[in-house]
Symmetry: C4
Subunit: 359 residues, 4 copies
């Protein structure tokens, strides 16, 4: 097969996704600086083999707060999956079910969360964007509860987005037939571009202030996880506010260009919240060893964004399931070679900081 590792879906997807759509999916905001930093961050760390352990009883299972996971890979919320495959989020949900993977379903999914729920496995979370009209926000949460989603993931880093230069150059616009299926017509989705001169007031339309988050956490019957946290102080504050966990994420380099890699900020955040608070990470993960590094540096588990879309475009549900299987095997190989018999053991592993002679 041409697919030797999970990352191979990236190059292959170029044959399956139309160029403008690819620009939208692959690109970051601004000049893709953060996008590069995300990848680069993993290269700075080396894994030291310690191949002497008995792996007979090793396992990738873990618990995350009240949730038991088979392995530390989750499917990140990714909007508008109809862009790359007709079965869209339904295919992704099937792959999640087949591989014991928790799927985080986006507010901006191109099929409804109810339809996704029917196809996905036991584990599903709902990703929420705060809506301009608070009542709409509440309705989304109620629907998620009804459809047996087990957690709400509030994404806080996309209230205003800096435009992607690449997307603007490519001339991508969302096709009319692809819509945010969860949202009523009155919905005003987060701005994807800088409005004419009123950044600050625009920002307030859906700004995730602590006050709003505190209210949501208090009123929501499900655990609330905050996605898009990059500062240790904010992480500690959210912990104190009652959040059920955080996702250290820069939205895959799609918000403020020039943001550091989320991996680079992870250790200080873990320090700030202590060992037992659920901390997930995404942005830039392309292999099982990337996941291993993230966990060694402080994460409990990781979310997979673009690889999910790439695999979906190539082979639908099967592609996503295969990609997840490869990731897991790559990850298990790292565990075997380092003698880590559990995911928790990885957290005690010391990575080697790679410094290259530049030339």
């Amino acid at each position: 097969s041409e697919i030797a590792c999970a990352q191979d879906y990236e190059a292959l997807a170029h044959q399956f996704i139309e160029p403008k759509r690819l620009a939208y999916i692959e690109g970051g905001s601004g000049h893709d600086r953060t996008l590069q930093l995300n990848r680069d961050a993993f290269q700075k760390w080396g894994i030291i083999p310690r191949p002497f352990a008995d792996m007979a009883h090793a396992t990738t299972a873990l618990t995350l707060g009240s949730h038991a996971l088979e392995h530390p890979f989750l499917l990140a919320p990714v909007a508008y999956q109809k862009l790359v495959h007709p079965n869209a989020e339904l295919a992704t949900a099937q792959a999640a079910a087949a591989t014991d993977t928790t799927m985080v379903s986006s507010t901006l999914s191109s099929v409804t969360m109810e339809d996704i729920a029917e196809h996905s496995g036991a584990m599903r979370w709902f990703q929420l964007y705060l809506q301009p009209d608070e009542q709409n926000t509440t309705e989304l949460v109620i629907r998620a509860v009804k459809s047996d989603y087990q957690a709400i993931v509030v994404t806080v880093d996309a209230a205003v987005q800096s435009p992607s230069i690449r997307v603007l150059r490519a001339g991508f616009v969302m096709p009319n037939e692809i819509t945010a299926a969860n949202l009523e017509s009155q919905f005003q989705k987060p701005h994807e571009g800088v409005s004419k001169s009123r950044i600050f007031s625009d920002y307030m339309v859906s700004a995730p202030t602590f006050a709003r988050l505190e209210k949501l956490i208090r009123e929501c019957p499900l655990p609330v996880i905050i996605k898009g946290v990059l500062s240790p102080q904010d992480a500690a504050a959210l912990h104190d506010l009652g959040a059920a966990g955080i996702v250290v994420s820069n939205h895959g380099g799609r918000t403020l260009d020039g943001t550091p890699a989320s991996l680079d900020l992870l250790p200080a955040i873990r320090d700030a919240v202590g060992d037992r608070f659920p901390v997930l990470l995404d942005s830039g993960i392309r292999s099982g060893s990337d996941a291993f590094k993230a966990i060694a540096l402080g994460a409990d588990a990781v979310l997979i964004g673009r690889l999910q879309v790439y695999a979906l475009s190539v082979a639908g549900a099967l592609g996503v399931a295969h990609m997840l299987k490869l990731l897991r095997e790559e990850f298990e190989l790292c565990m075997a070679m380092t003698g880590c018999q559990s995911v928790t053991a990885i957290r005690s592993t010391t990575l080697h900081s790679v410094m290259r002679a530049s030339c």
Copy 2:
């Protein structure tokens, strides 16, 4: 539109400026080493999003000594603007007026400072090169006072310039019809090249010694700001001499090639002069996030050099005004995403030092 961000005017200008003139404008001195360092300096810093603040009452306004500014972008003194647009400095002045921007008008402007004053808005400063004949210097200051300029900016880093290899190769010479409109015929402008062997004596013709600066500050009715300061000791000395502020600048990489980036030297300079002395910065700013970084590292405000010329060449007054609007929006986005409700708040922000794994 093709213009997605302020920096896009740079590439676009290549279609509007004739190659030899472009070499003169774009190039740095020597082998462009400092020019590269200037850009590079901003890449070393990452901005950490903290998107939780209420931005309803946020503002970009600030005060700089006795001056109230709507936003922290000033137009740097740039000579001979007729090189790129027939309306030259007059167009730039109109853009400044339209966007509440302080314009710093060059000694070497291609229209007179009096004409510029008529077109520019309320805020205008005059940039002064010390003249070989002291009386000429005095006359320039008197004219600036008469035309209601509100500050004198003395540029100290161009008494002798190392030639730009790129300009020499391109074969650029100043066209006859473009002249320094402010200067009488007897004027001897600063040397743009190394004279035959008498660097030291040539240098003394217009060397900005502390003695000369002290006299100027004492006698000048306007606040005197010193542009081209890069050493903490000098910054402190100028503060003690009575300067109204300084501009940390390497002239956009156009003086001594091999000079470090002004951004790299900024923090030590801020330390040396304390929190309340006006410190501006230029050299290498191409986006609102660059300005944000400069302020986070110690500047009160920033000057925009080349982007001004590029936008002027593309669309005259409208171009400059549009470029400034984009810069401001990019800057406001950074404020919103970091929860900075004022420019002063940015000064308490901590940037993340980005270290890349080199390939």
Copy 3:
């Protein structure tokens, strides 16, 4: 001659080895990241000339535990040498004999260890992969003893290998006529790829656990050296277990991709085991000065992997002997220029850490 230095055999081999086979030999695992790091690690160090010593009585001889060596270069175990030359390991053995070089013969040699023994010189070691069936392991050891091998080198880093993307792309498969001559038909060789989903149980088939190693060391009549050690803790544990020495090695970048360079990990390992425990190093050595650096950083001697195969492909036994001669001369030049009259003296040499300005 076209061969100016030992490394020149690398480029030349491209004309002698068929592309698919070359991919197999040259490539590392995964995306060749570790392969690059291996080379890069040597570039980070500079040798400071101190050309004032009297070299009249200088020597490259050393002792390694109970073994006396003429010089610190050994031939690393490299499998299946028939891939590049019909005389295969027999030619390599002849070159070893001719140059007073210790050859480490691989479990996976394409001629039997008995035939190799007949051709090689006085010094030969046998490299052992633990076999799934313990009795097979024992038999290999017994044969090695009978054939007068003087040490057993157990390679621990290849129980499972991550596939080489390059090899998969090239479509290399081992030709039918090339087999592991030492092994009976019932043999199951270490997995070269990730099996369908049972990494952990597969791993246990030939995992080199401390328990197994301890038993082997205890029962084996020959000194047992462990190859593939990269962690200081493991090095210390193996020392305490009774190993006769270790080889700090990442298998030339052929096991877990992303592993740091073995040279980078060497100093901490030497610290952990003390000055007198035999520590060898391989992975990335291409010149006499690389060997000099490895010794200065803590190794007693070094193993040569790929250069051996390259020279074999170009000119058989003569090629390997010539390559070894060049390595030795390059190494002697370093000794002369640094005033080191013995290999031990190199260990007291301080290298200069080279930091480059990146462009």
Copy 4:
């Protein structure tokens, strides 16, 4: 003119020197690693402008031990100058005379030291290679004294040279008509290649041991300066032995490839010998600002190697004189822009360590 700076002679020389000879002159030993490091070392440092000083009485003059120099540039010993110009060392000597420059004449000059003495100015030094037969060494010194050379510079880093891969590939061999004019027929010049296997004994033929140097210093009527020193300990030892000074040099990257840049080793060497011992530097200097940096980091003066040959090839004596004039002007510009009124003042200047974000 096409020549905008001293370094421009480098590119231009490609049109004047035949490729094989150019390979010999331009190349370093081995794979040119040290050659690159030499250039790179200067890029790591930035000069901070401090343009406020009164330069009316500034000067580039200095004293070096008992020698008074007009400026801190010397012409390094460069062998066989007939390779690039028929007038060879005689033209170089004339340029030295015309520009008040001290010329260091090589043992391996292609015209005799007596002829050179007739053409050169007041200041000339003789570079000595220790000869296999000690009596020949003595004779060279006696001739240098007779011809009024004022110092002996013993080069210690070329007793054995690692071959330049570039030169070997280019197929350069010294033309028959170009000879070492100073040397009798019985002379055996230092080996330029690794002899068959007897590095150590070969090395002893002309090894510059401390014993030999001590004798030479004691018996020689002229001050003896040692060229090719890179270790602080050796520098201190030579100081104690009675040397009149040292040249920190890696022979322009032409001895052991992988040697660090001489600039990188300079500060520790200056520390080791104290402030008043003459320390010169060469290897990699291509501009006046490079010289400025070398002096700021601890040198008293610098030697110019390759630029000398390049300028000679382009325009004979005039070329060398012009190149020296440009260097001096570039250097004076640095002094003016940093407010250094003397060469000694540069030694108190602090450079800025430039750290680049790698892309």
